[in-house]
Amino acid sequence: MRVLRPVHPVPEPASARPIPNAVLAMLIFVVSETMLFAGLVSAFTIARASAPLWPPPDQPRLPAEETALNTAALLLSGAALFAARQSFWNNARRTRLFLTLAMALGAFFVTFQGIEWVRLIGQGLTLTSSALGSFFYLIVGIHGLHAVVALGVLAYAWTRLQRGWLSPALFGAAEVFWYFVVAVWPLLYWRVYL
């Protein structure tokens, strides 16, 4: 009897990889984005230390207390996403619930930031009014942009979950992105607002 043997080595299935490709790609992206934020925070730290008076006397103060509440909302959304991951393999309904909660808290964070910006612009803090304004809108704006894109990725994952074909790799990549948005914010809050 003739035995058929594979000509090429059998490729490992995707599930046998230590880290799925999508998650690894997102991790590499997050590493590069971390360096972007590190550069911005470093530049802000030097500008702040070099200024004779900080914050500039003719500029409005940043609303640290109100933003603390917003920070709590963002941290809670990270916790909700973690809870969604915990039930990913055994309870799709619970996963959907926590994923929705995470997205709602994230949307609250972005909306609150928008309201805060409108108020600050009305008080005279603009991109060109001072170094504080320039750095504030640049750093917080780039974080906000990341938050919006990450919310889009979470929404895409939610849609696929709703249709019943959300892969663990895609969910993992969305998680990594959102955790990055959540984890970098306390550092920005500490350096920019306090």
């Binding site: 490992e12 046998a16 230590p18 880290i19 030097i46 702040r48």
Partner: protein
């Protein structure tokens, strides 16, 4: 003629070296660190920016190695091992 050129080249090079520290002062950032607070900020951010990429890349590599080892200990008969055993069987 060639020797003359070399001599003048050496003199110009020495002069440029002598002038180099003054050129550094032309950097607007270098003149900013005059007081102690801004010098501390420069030092802290330099250390931060130098160490952070090493930590990030190290953590990524460590996570991949750890996951690989964990997978190896929990799944001794991986797909590749199964394929090898199938190939070996008549």
């Amino acid at each position: 003629m060639r020797q003359k050129l070399r001599r003048w080249g050496a003199i110009l090079f020495g002069f440029a070296l002598f002038q180099a520290p003054r050129l550094v002062l032309a950097c607007s950032v270098c003149t900013a660190g005059r007081d102690e607070e801004s010098q501390d900020a420069f030092l802290a951010t330099t250390v931060f920016m130098s160490v952070l990429p090493l930590i990030l890349v190290g953590a990524l590599g460590w996570a991949v190695v750890r996951r690989t080892q964990h997978r190896g200990s929990t799944q001794p008969r991986s797909a590749r091992a199964l394929a090898r055993s199938l190939e070996a069987s008549p």
